[in-house]
């Protein structure tokens, strides 16, 4: 659909909207239920040059953690998805500042995390509350009677908790 539209002189705004729609279909490789848009790592979409037949599109992404090994995969996925929709010219750029924060995960994203079994971040990133002092709801049974096992979980962005009621261990997406 987008490939057809390309030749009909879409306004830049429409192209940017179309690119956002494509980005919404790409999921984070580590949390495959969450789109990279809901995760809040898309910093911006720009059309750098629109004179050519195919516009040059710049997508700026930001890492959740400095050493996030998923960044390279995500860059490739974005490039491939754009290519598949007929956008042959794109640059994927990384930006570090302002640093990504869990505040940028959308409400929709938080619900998807929970449905997947990962407790979504509680509070705002600069609340300055320590993990031990937080009451995290178990994503399985919704009990607030949970405790921290380790500040570092299966990936850098998560901590490991356990539920004292249903006894299930679970990942908590750290407020960051």
């Amino acid at each position: 659909m987008i490939a057809e539209n390309k030749n009909t002189n879409l306004s830049e705004k429409a192209t940017i909207d179309a690119v956002w729609a494509i980005l919404k279909t790409i999921n984070d490789p580590e949390i495959p239920v969450l789109s990279i848009v809901d995760l809040g790592i898309i910093r911006g979409v720009e059309i750098v040059q629109s004179e050519n037949e195919s516009p040059l599109i710049k997508v700026t992404i930001t890492p959740t953690y400095s050493g996030c090994p998923a960044m390279d995969v995500i860059s490739i996925q974005v490039k491939m998805a754009l290519l598949a929709s007929g956008y042959t010219h794109s640059i994927i750029q990384q930006a570090l500042s302002p640093a990504w924060t869990t505040d940028w995960i959308t409400e929709n994203g938080k619900q998807q995390l929970k449905a997947y079994g990962i407790a979504p971040p509680v509070g705002k990133s600069f609340d300055n509350v320590y993990l031990e002092d937080l009451s995290i709801e178990c994503p399985q049974c919704n009990s607030a009677n949970t405790s921290l096992v380790s500040a570092f979980g299966s990936t850098a962005c998560k901590a490991l908790f356990k539920c004292n009621d249903c006894k299930e261990p679970f990942d908590y997406f750290k407020c960051h």
Binding site: Y65, S66, G67, L96, S97, A99, S125, A151, A156, L160
Partner: protein, 247 residues
């Protein structure tokens, strides 16, 4: 840091992150329990991420000089800077290249270093160089977790059994002479804040602050302990044996 130019200063920060990251990564698969193994491996990943950001920026500056006598492989990349420089080119602090020793040495070193980084990055966020300030801003969030995690261990070991206390006291004696170097060239407030932070935590851990002692130094000038050569031999082996190989 007044005594280093910008490229050297970036390399110094990057080398620090890479070498401590490498030491932390040595625990992968060897941690005392699974959760702590994962924690220390995650911390390694954070550091290697920091190192990549810093090396990439240093490479960009080196290449933009357009000077064939700049003293680095051209064009420089994050990989050439990490894998094709020798021990005397490395500018990391000596503290970070010391062997991991036992869990007490590992966690205490991480506490001493990440607390230093915490105060340093709080300064660097204000740096006029926007890229350096962005890297500091990103890293600071991670460092805050490292300080918490390692500090908790120092308290647990210090205020634990006779054996754990004995081990952490030995670790203090071993590591302390390498802490002086952290502050050379830095604003004095960093050392003051760091001292305060360490003292408060040591108190909680029922540990004594060491008395003033002679301090080791040399890392910034490329003068290292014998341990760095072994790290580089292992880390650089593939790139040296098969030049330009890629994953």
């Amino acid at each position: 840091m007044k005594m280093l130019n910008k490229i050297d200063y970036l390399l110094h920060l990057a080398d620090n992150a890479l070498i401590i990251g490498h030491r932390c990564s040595e625990w992968c698969g060897h941690g005392p329990i699974l959760e702590q193994d994962i924690a220390v491996s995650n911390i390694a990943l954070d550091y290697i991420g920091q190192a990549r950001n810093l090396y990439q920026y240093a490479a960009e500056l080196i290449n933009s000089k357009n000077d064939p006598f700049v003293g680095f492989v051209l064009p420089s990349t994050e990989d050439s800077l990490a894998y094709l420089r020798d021990t005397t080119d490395y500018k990391n602090h000596l503290l970070l290249e010391l062997p991991n020793g036992d869990w007490a040495v590992t966690t205490l070193r991480l506490f001493l270093f990440s607390s230093y980084q915490y105060f340093l990055f709080n300064e660097l966020i204000k740096n006029e160089d926007s890229q350096l300030s962005a890297i500091a801003e990103k890293s600071l969030k991670e460092v805050t977790y490292h300080v918490r995690w390692s500090g908790d261990w120092v308290i647990r070991l210090g205020d634990g059994t006779d054996e754990s206390k004995n081990k952490i006291e030995k670790a203090i004696d071993y590591l302390w002479p390498y802490t002086g170097e952290l502050f050379s060239g830095n604003d004095q407030s960093i050392e003051l804040n760091w001292n305060k932070k360490v003292e408060v935590l040591f108190n909680e851990a029922t540990l004594k602050m060491p008395t003033k002692t002679w301090m080791q130094e040399g890392g910034l000038r490329g003068i290292h302990t014998e341990h760095l050569g072994f790290i580089l031999a292992e880390m650089q082996h593939l790139q040296r044996a098969y030049p330009n190989s890629e994953w």
